[in-house]
């Protein structure tokens, strides 16, 4: 294990930014998001949750897929280059770090999404352990250890010192590049922090939430539950939960006429929207109840059925703090559980 004083952390950022693009939780306009590092950026490693999750780094909100020009019967297609430069995402929390493996199951399974794959290959994840969880956190329900996140490098911040440990080959390579700034140390401080944090996690209010009934639950029983009726009514049909969610992975593809050609791009989409999966004949989810149910059934039933029981949620709690009418996945889990 290595360490660096938080007073010198800027030097570490600068060192990384010298050879790689570096993304960090940076405060802009009063809110914190993952942005590329700039010299006078207001880095906020202390903030637990960026508004959007770190998935942006691999699945950007919007990206161009190709361009084309049509002249008479001739179509000229111009490919957009895949990402091929290494980049570092620094300060990823345990929940977001786990979300990447969930996204992998969708995007890296056949047929592989080459845009996503290229970013995953080039991306180095420097995760940061949590020491001050929020009341909205429930990552422990998905066997995520907030004190030991998944990542190429894992860091812990304790008493003004950042502790650094490489976990993968990519992580070791990155460590070597910045080795001159790091200092070898023992794990005592980190162990202390881990123990203290685990004690807090045990006391988190959502720790007591019952999710056992969902494991191996019958899909159609959940689907047909009458409780959806009471749950969906207040839903505004906005996309806040979807867009702040680290595991939501749906996208839409659109063509934009630039006046001198066409740009085909894809962007995030939300199953809460009325025009989600709109087809020539219309849509197959005509009511908000169906759309609302789709989102939660996907995370709690369809996804686990197709992925060895892994839920499509990492318990980051963003939907809890961001939903305009405070409806969220934990309320759904609790209500559906109830006396089923």
């Amino acid at each position: 294990m290595y360490k660096i004083s938080m007073d010198q952390i800027d030097q570490l950022y600068k060192a990384i930014a010298e050879f790689d693009a570096l993304y960090l939780p940076i405060e802009k306009g009063g809110e914190v998001e993952f942005y590329p590092y700039e010299e006078d950026a207001k880095v906020r490693l202390d903030v637990l949750h960026t508004v959007k999750s770190a998935k942006d780094a691999f699945l950007p909100t919007t990206e161009n897929m190709m361009k084309f020009k049509v002249e008479g019967k001739k179509i000229e297609v111009e490919e957009v280059d895949r990402v091929n430069q290494e980049f570092v995402v620094f300060g990823v929390r345990a929940c977001d770090a786990r979300s990447f493996s969930i996204l992998d199951k969708v995007y890296l399974s056949d047929p592989v999404d080459t845009y996503y794959e290229a970013r995953r290959k080039c991306g180095v994840i420097v995760a940061t352990a949590c020491s001050r969880p929020e009341e909205t956190c429930f990552c422990m329900k998905f066997d995520i250890d907030a004190t030991e996140p998944e990542g190429d490098v894992v860091t812990w911040i304790e008493d003004g010192v950042l502790y650094w440990e490489a976990k993968t080959e990519k992580g070791t390579a990155l460590t070597e590049k910045v080795a001159s700034l790091l200092e070898e140390c023992d794990t005592a401080a980190v162990d202390r922090q881990k123990a203290a944090t685990k004690e807090i996690i045990d006391r988190l209010p959502l720790n007591s939430m019952d999710m056992e009934y969902l494991k191996g639950a019958d899909m159609m029983t959940l689907f047909k539950s009458e409780k959806w009726e009471g749950l969906y009514k207040s839903c505004l049909g906005c996309g806040t939960c979807t867009f702040v969610c680290p595991t939501c992975q749906c996208y839409d593809i659109r063509d934009f006429d630039t006046g001198h050609g066409i740009v085909r791009s894809r962007c995030w989409d939300s199953c809460m929207y009325r025009d989600f999966t709109m087809m020539a004949h219309g849509t197959n989810r005509k009511t908000q109840l169906e759309r609302f149910r789709q989102r939660f059934m996907h995370k709690l039933s369809y996804f686990p059925i197709n992925n060895d029981g892994e839920f499509g949620c990492v318990g980051c709690g963003r939907c809890i703090s961001k939903c305009p009418i405070s409806m969220n996945i934990t309320k759904v889990i609790k209500t559906l559980g109830g006396d089923n």
Binding site: F256, T258, G259, H260
Partner: protein, 147 residues
């Protein structure tokens, strides 16, 4: 060998003209052989009231450097009251653009009747000069539309 031509900025101006007065005014300017800048692109609308604020924004998106709307003089609207509504709409919209820090001189409303071919040509000339001085529209453009 290719010689890089240094292009001088010629603004692109979109003019929404109402069918009954201003478009006829433009016609008159034409038939009277009055000169007005060739980079003014006229879009004929049934009434100034037809101009939706989205039209103005989309003109900027597609590369316009200035947008001018022309209609019948207040009181002379072919549909009696259309331009009175348009007047309020454009005033509030232009004020909002200014509030967002977008140069207010890039937008203008001018009332031009069917008999005012001279005024039409003069207005367009003056507006084109204003936009020429302001330079390219950078604040309200869509990068995808740039060549």
């Amino acid at each position: 060998m290719q010689v890089e031509e240094k292009k001088e900025f010629t603004p692109l101006i979109v003019a929404f003209c109402c069918n009954w007065c201003s478009y006829a005014g433009a016609d008159l300017a034409g038939s009277n052989r009055l000169n007005y800048p060739a980079n003014v692109k006229i879009i004929r609308v049934p009434c100034s009231c037809r101009v939706n604020p989205l039209f103005i924004l989309r003109a900027f998106q597609r590369g316009a450097d200035g947008v001018i709307m022309c209609g019948c003089h207040p009181g002379d609207c072919h549909y009696t009251t259309g331009n009175y509504y348009a007047r309020r709409r454009m005033t509030t919209l232009f004020s909002m653009l200014d509030y967002l820090g977008i140069e207010k001189e890039r937008t203008r409303v001018e009332w031009v009747s069917a008999a005012e071919g001279v005024k039409f040509a003069a207005t367009m000339k003056d507006f084109a000069e204003t936009i020429q001085k302001l330079g390219e529209n950078r604040k309200l453009r869509d990068l995808r539309c740039e060549k």
